[in-house]
Symmetry: C2
Subunit: 327 residues, 2 copies
């Protein structure tokens, strides 16, 4: 074979490989996931429940998947982002509350001294920043914050701290006719302000912690006021109960990252047929955060043991995620 | 023209008219509705919010429609069908509750003497028949009843006492990319047992009255137990609040038949843009029932005044519905 022919031949092979590679990239529904046990398990599960000749086939109407938010779809360190929202709101509201300069816990929050905030202090901050207004006003406040606020250590917008691999997983499941729900300890109203544009999850598929509300007539026009009382604290067992109350079907797949998600995963796993409970394990101190059994936020202890005992998928972020945040 | 040609000509015209008529019938999305103000208003509304060049166009994601159930999607006389379910269950359970022969209110229910049942008696009957079991067991009980029980006066199965014109309306809205929800004072668990097959409304789009629940481990398998306490009484203002909590968007169309639906219709009407609040008025004593301002069930009094004052659509069942129940 002449040199010119060899070159042509090699070029042809290279081009074929390149186009094969493109085809593979196009076919890979989870490009930010490294090949590994979690990616394999996800794809195997989805294939099993969607192929009509599969013994594990699940009709479209029953393809319900539930996702925790904090620590599962976006980061949650060094504090839940919604807490950061509340603290930022205290600062924004301070000019119209001169008494806060001396009144605790607001005085400490305004000084940036939040290390010693107790749960009841946090509740005061939450009520002062999340209630008293009507639902439309609160939605506008949350939307404005999420559009502008930056994370204290990464300097990123919070919506740029969502997990790229999980965005792909949401898309992949929906492409396979799953209905995706959020079931989170985060506030329902807070999340609804932005999750539709960021995750593609509509308001009616967001289940979270709720405040008491009141129907009031304002010059003949009805509005719904947010009141300073937690109605549902959507954590732990309450997640399973809220899935029953609001969705009414046991999910066939559920995704969480902490012991607060364990009841949701147990309730999912208990259903008949093939089920897919999955934990995200925060193992990546370089690109994100590393924490589990001892963390005060998103503690994963009992859940990690149960996942291992029952063979649930546990994602090792450091090893299994090619990228963490969207570019 | 010769006679033979004339005949051919006439036949051709007749055939064209017949096919035109068929085309018209196929195009009519609401065949059980007589031509009249309500049918005209419904079609005009749907056209206005779905045509992309319309000034009132509404994106698909915001096309939320909410329906009351009792008296709006099926009959509710001489008593709410779910109450009939509870009374039937008392009879079914009586053999294992010998004490009920003498214990009120059960003794009266077993004798068929229910005229003097007070609200607190009814609550005892509800708790005895709707709670204590797990959610799967309750679902099976409700499914079995709805599949077999017959209405005391019509002798029909209850699912044959749904309103054919409303089934067509549900289909018509969904064909125009509306998401249809039930928002009813009926029990969520009771309705979910049958509304998906009868109305095409999935469990996650059923909002109703709920009982408290508990997450319990039964030999390592989680189940959800129904407890004897009403958590949400989904009536009046609560309907608007539950729409906020569970759906998170103001509906653009809402359908009810009583003052219990007024807040839902007000909340719908208060939204920006074109809105469609509609009342079913029970005016048909021959084919269904005739009641409004004085009825102890499904009273329509304030709502009727407000509908007239605000120009909401009020359906005159006797005049506007060609048929009431499915054949």
């Amino acid at each position: 074979m002449k040199m010119a022919h060899l070159k042509k031949y090699a070029l042809a092979i290279l081009l074929s490989l390149a186009s094969l590679n493109l085809a593979w990239a196009a076919a890979d529904p989870l490009p930010s996931w490294n090949s590994g046990p979690s990616k394999t398990a996800i794809i195997k599960f989805v294939d099993s429940v969607t192929k009509e000749d599969s013994p594990d086939f699940v009709p479209v109407a029953e393809r319900i998947a539930t996702f925790d938010n904090d620590g599962t779809l976006w980061s949650e360190q060094p504090m839940y982002f919604q807490v950061q929202f509340a603290l930022d709101r205290v600062k924004a509201l301070a000019p119209s509350h001169p008494d806060w300069q001396t009144e605790e816990p607001f005085a400490s929050v305004l000084k940036g001294d939040i290390k010693n905030l107790h749960t009841e202090d946090l509740m005061k901050v939450l009520y002062a920043t999340h209630t008293g207004m009507n639902t439309e006003e609160f939605d506008a406040i949350a939307k404005e914050w999420i559009a502008t606020a930056k994370h204290p250590t990464t300097g990123k917008k919070y919506t740029n701290m969502v997990f790229q691999p999980m965005l792909e997983l949401l898309d992949y499941l929906r492409a396979n006719d799953f209905k995706t729900f959020i079931v989170s300890g985060g506030g329902t109203g807070f999340m609804r302000a932005w999750v539709e544009s960021v995750y593609g999850i509509p308001p009616e598929q967001v289940v979270g912690t709720t405040f008491k509300t009141e129907f009031v007539m304002n010059n003949g026009v009805p509005e719904i006021k947010r009141l300073p009382e937690i109605l549902v604290n959507d954590d732990k067992e309450m997640k399973a109960l809220e899935i029953y109350e609001r969705i009414g079907r046991q999910p066939i797949a559920a995704f969480g990252n902490s012991d607060g998600d364990l009841a949701m995963l147990q309730w999912t796993y208990a259903g008949k047929g093939l089920r897919f409970p999955m934990y995200i394990h925060h193992t990546d101190e370089k690109r994100e955060y590393k924490y589990d059994r001892e963390s005060h936020i998103g503690r994963l202890d009992k859940g990690l043991d149960e996942a291992k005992a029952k063979g649930w998928t546990v994602v090792d972020m450091a090893k299994e995620w090619k990228t963490v945040y969207p570019n």
